[in-house]
Symmetry: C2
């Protein structure tokens, strides 16, 4: 008998705290009334602080992919070139979207390896209107070098589009300091809200670059016009705005700096446990990249299949993620994003030890949780 709900430790959607679930279930309001415009304005103000930006910020009623497409679809037209940096599934998604709008110049690296700045610069030399990169590549557990690639983009006068879907809210992403033209994130990752909303920040330079046939639902000019009245151009997913607002209140209460430190500590504890269990991290790092502080990707050890591991974890009430696309069966991934607790983390690591032990992948339990707890000190 398990008295607890299943704990979802996948890299989004993340567990949603009861406080947020409760806020979400408020009665419906008019999306064209003052109650909504006050709510939306407050949400935008809180998001601007988290993103450390003076750029326009909007909330789209659509998941992260909707915002990824909004970023490209607004500024890239048939004749425009776009450099897409790819070292994982979401980098690849930018490439696929890019192909629908303009001339895509992919700069590709093996998934799980770091990106090479020289290759990016070499692609930019040919001229491009924009560069896309995924900041935190969820599919591989790598944090890509935002600062360095942004500098390259500026050097060649290209717009810098950064997917921060699994970094913002857990990792510091100072949009204006970095000089990101279009940054996007999602509600259901480090911000800790349910899925269904995405957030986009847009620089003046990016606004001036809007051209061609922009998707109607994602037209950033319409969002800009409506946000002046505290509205969205089309009916917003009001309940999810209630939830996002509550999740931003929680972030304010925790303090963004504390939240970043907590994400660092949790990921460090997770990596230490992985190491203590004799498992191997999946990413191959170079000087330009780091392990993600929001999701940990681990090589699947010998002696256990993806299904055995996930089913075993599930029997302990924990949901973890496998590898995506060609990484299926080769890695597993555990998220430490959002409003999870040290207890959630220890529960996850303990379950992992037990499952590995039950399958005779490791000799005995205990060392992983012990090592993590030394770092967590909860």
């Amino acid at each position: 008998m398990n008295f607890e709900d299943d704990l979802i430790m996948i890299p989004g959607p993340v567990p949603v705290t009861p406080r947020i679930l409760k806020a979400m279930s408020k009665p419906m309001i008019n999306h064209r009334g003052t109650e909504f415009s006050n709510l939306y304005s407050e949400i935008l103000e809180k998001l601007s602080k988290i993103l450390k930006t003076k750029n326009d910020v909007f909330v789209l009623s659509g998941s992260g992919t909707c915002a990824m497409e909004a970023a490209i679809g607004n500024v890239i037209d048939d004749c425009d070139s776009i450099v897409t940096v790819v070292n994982g599934k979401f980098g690849d998604r930018f490439k696929l979207i890019g192909k629908r709008y303009g001339k895509t110049i992919p700069v590709e690296f093996d998934w799980g390896t770091s990106i090479g700045l020289e290759e990016v610069e070499s692609a930019l030399k040919g001229g491009a209107k924009a560069v896309t990169m995924v900041h935190n590549e969820t599919s591989t557990g790598i944090l890509n070098p935002a600062k360095e690639v942004c500098e390259l983009a500026k050097k060649y006068d290209a717009l810098f589009i950064l997917d921060c879907i699994t970094s913002i809210g857990g990792i510091d992403v100072p949009i204006d300091d970095l000089g990101v033209d279009i940054a996007i994130t999602g509600s259901q990752k480090c911000l800790g809200a349910p899925p269904g909303l995405s957030i986009i920040s847009v620089s003046e330079k990016a606004f001036e670059a809007i051209s061609g046939k922009v998707p109607f639902y994602m037209d950033l000019r319409a969002y800009k016009k409506s946000s002046k009245k505290g509205q969205t151009p089309y009916t917003p997913a009001i309940s999810l705005f209630f939830a996002l607002d509550e999740s931003l209140r929680i972030i304010e209460e925790e303090g963004m700096d504390n939240r970043i430190l907590r994400h660092e500590k949790f990921a460090k504890a997770m990596r230490a446990a992985i190491n203590a269990l004799g498992l191997e991290m999946f990413p191959k790092l170079n000087t330009a990249s780091r392990y993600s502080d929001t999701v940990t990707a681990v090589n699947m050890p010998d002696g256990i299949t993806d299904k055995q591991l996930k089913d075993g974890m599930r029997s302990h009430g924990i949901i973890i993620a496998g590898g995506q696309a060609h990484l299926g069966g080769k890695i597993f991934r555990i998220s430490t994003m959002g409003n999870i607790t040290g207890g959630d983390l220890l529960r996850t690591i303990s379950a992992l030890e037990n499952v590995l032990s039950e399958n005779k992948v490791i000799d005995k339990s205990g060392s992983g949780a012990e090592t993590a707890n030394e770092i967590l000190n909860i």
Copy 2:
């Protein structure tokens, strides 16, 4: 002191019953696990019954406009012609979206007047890949002739795209009998769920017509591929799926036929009250159109402004809608969509009488609610 929540009688979002709010606040689940795929499959099965269709049905995480764009964006490419029938704001939106994808041939009528079938046929004679029409034009309170325009579309071998956002769930829309190629609806209208999801049904013929550069987030081929596994191609707004599922259960319990009769009766009661109060319906009907059975649009009477009326209603705890675009100040609109009760309707009519009476637009209160109650018989 008002113990009740504000009652939103605008044509969407509609009030969401506590049962649905509660279902929505369930803990988060993995969108790639069996729990979600079971949920999604059940939702699609229930929707297929309501739409009376064997066509593919998908749920998009995005509002109605997202589905409107999905309909056009998939099948219309630069060189394609699309006839857009316009007699209100949402017909106009189809025209605006059409312009971003192909050669748009608008067939326009004054907002609030009926569409002329001859004009539609005359436009179709020039050849078109598709025709768009809004079934229930929320901006004006008119139900447009789906059957007749669908027959014209077939006669000229054009796909028929029907916006049923404010009809499905309240008015009978037998998709296969009518022969609608692409039908769309939204969660927050007659279905009674919160906003943020839209639903699209797609015929085989429409699938075969997909061509050109389709928006990535709205690519119906991706939805089709994923739905075979009970999934959506991109992260779904899970909480809203919980809510939609509960709203579909409520519809099943009420019975779709009963629900349609209730919508008919409520709209009839509302129109009778409007008439009894000496007010004038906004739509100018011809033989090819009907008053909407989900939203009632009324000419703004002399002696009261839009602001006075809406503020007055608000002081009674009722939110109603004004006119959109150039109809602002000229009409007001009251919705009778979704899971509202006869009591909600009487409360609204009584408040309307009081506000009109307070502003000396009518002499005395009573006749509207009395007349409506004779029809409602609650």
